[in-house]
Amino acid sequence: MYSNLWLIPFFPLVGAIINGLMGKKIRNEKIIGGFGTLLMFLSFLVAVQNFVHLLSDSEKVHQLVIAKWITVGQLNINWEFLLDPLSAVMIMVVTGVGTLIHLYSIGYMHGEVGFYRFFSYMNLFAFSMLMLVLGGNALVMFIGWEGVGLCSYLLIGYYFEKKSAGDAAKKAFVVNRIGDFGFLCGLLTLFWSLGSKGVWTLNFVEIANSVHLLEAGGVIVTIVTLCFFLGATGKSAQIPLFTWLPDAMEGPTPVSALIHAATMVTAGVYMIGRMNGLFAMAPATMMTIAIIGALTAFFAATIGLAQNDIKRVLAYSTVSQLGYMFLAMGVGAFSAGVFHLMTHAFFKACLFLGSGSVIHGMHHAYHHAHLHDDPQDMRNMGGLRKKMPITFITFLVSTIAIAGVPLFSGFFSKDEILWWAFGSTRGHWLLWVLGAAAAGMTAFYMFRLVFMTFFGEQKTHPKAKDHIPESPATITIPLIVLGFLALVGGYIGVPKLLGGMNRFEHFLAPVFEHNQELHHIAAHGAHSTEWTLMIVSVVIAFIGIFGAWFMYMKNPELPARFTARFAFAYRVIFNKWYIDELYDFVFVNPCKKIGTFLWRAIDVWIVDGVVNGIAWLVKGIGNGLRYTQSGYLYNYAVVMVIGVIVIVGFYVFD
């Protein structure tokens, strides 16, 4: 009955192939875009059908084997899918948000040279992402895992004539590869370690059923989980591998929305959720995850404070939000993490698309005025709320959501995470502090963004300022839908405290239940604490908002003074803590140097040197011997006589 599961990834794949091969011939944007979107929508329908079915179904875990893939000895890997609440949620998000963004792209990418290329890639991405979330075993997941990496490479490098785009794409892929390296190591170690216990498998269900064979908290488990986590950090842009995500904004905005906000970057979180059984057994790893998450959330937020590029701000906020999710995972709040994943998908997608619409408008204006200012620089915006009202409204809603203002989706998820960070057996008040601080800063920079973009007087170049239109329907409709979701999306997971029954958590329970007892809230029913924390976080959020208002609305000259005052700190965060420079210095350049050295010194100089040296030596000896052949008769005779004397003498005198 779930046997049509394979259709979900299949549709986008078809779209990718057909658009990829035919697109150039078709050339008609309506058809291409429409086709791509349609296929996404189809797979969304299938997803919905399966999802609904799952809701009513008592049995929550379903596998579907399509075909054998690799069969070698103990290794037997199938093309198989796994549908359970977790993947169900994911496919909903991916297909749903995906469809919207495809729709959006039709308008946004209008008139681009490689329009068909774009949609082909987008479909391909959807396919990979769905393989990732539906994959029934680690290897199928890995296909998706690398597939999305590939697609992000392709899409970031979409404007490949721009060097920066090419670099960003390469960086994204390579950094992801570093993560994949971890993933692969983890995978292999897991396979071997389980195998040595008699279970040769990579199937998630079987893994979940047999993790108990491994020693809880043992070295193996820790190593395996750490490796996987390294993979996660790569994919989900956590410390230390987060540097690629901001650069990834080189790609078209829909890409940023879909890949670098809603779906792909959350793959890490999903993967940890998928293997929660394993992770649950490795406290050390859990702690690491939590700490990394919290730190990422915090640092990314600080960087976000100082960026002027509208998309970069969002990028860092994404990193920061992902930090939250990992924090959640780390403290065992798996469902909370996934919950935030979902809500974040909504509001962050909306934010990106909104920014996209803004950029679209700005670009249009500049184009109209034949100017070449940067359409993404917030310092050139301002007062756009009148020009593009829909964009403004939806954008505002999402901002409020992300800022964690009560009754908006972001509030529920984020608050639950913070509460777990504080109260869980694995939690710690420090984690909460970091998280809360990040939340405050988020509120600050998000509203800074809003104020700088939509409020105040318009700082756009006079020639262009009057030509900024509201975006077309294809763009606004998705905005509205997502804005709406950002508003209400939280209500499926209202915590008990607020009289909700947290349906979301119950829904996901089958996936997490048998690890949940490992992590439960220590202070059971300590409602007072929970209340206080909630209030405090809300207050912090409002402080952030107020700060933003105070600095960017009340007296706009303040930021300049501020930066002048704390010039150093500002420079540091403005330059993202010089992380890129650091990596270049520590890894990239040395690698190049070593490479050159190995080539010039070892290969050419030593190895070839030895080889040619031998040849040269032989020739030298030959040349030396050659001159014994002097041509003088008597020399020859002499040599002969010497020979005779030596030979005869040797045997006669011994």
Binding site: V638, V641, V644, I645, V648, G649, V652
Partner: protein, 167 residues
Amino acid sequence: MELIIFYLTAAVAIVSAFFVVKSRNPVNSALNLVTTFICLAVLYVMLEAPFMAAIQIMVYAGAIMVLIIFVIMLLNLGIATKSRYTHALPIGGILSVLMLLVAGYFVRHGEATATGGEITSEVINSIGHTELIGRAMFVDFLLPFEIASILLLVAIIGAVVLSKRKV
């Protein structure tokens, strides 16, 4: 008595042989060589091999030496004007001395063990050296003898082909 003769002849042979090497004028060398040959002939006689002695004189002192001197004259090689020795003089000396040592050593410490063949002085005196030679030559060593003839034929051809003025 016998010993004295031996030593005398030996001395002369060695000295003349040495002068073959030493003397400046090829002709002198040739004449010294003749002397050596004659000394050897004497020794053959002492070894009860008169026939050998005879052909030693004829073939060597006669034929070969005449040929050599003839050639010397033909090419009228005078007294060597510049050094008559090659650069190998010192090493040549050393080597020949070494060789002498080696040879001397194995002659002293080895011994010619095969003895007691049927050809004793008596036999020789009774039958006569020449006949003995003849027997051996034509009964046991017929083939080598024939080959020798071929060899001489070849030599003749060679001499003709190589030195006849007009072919």
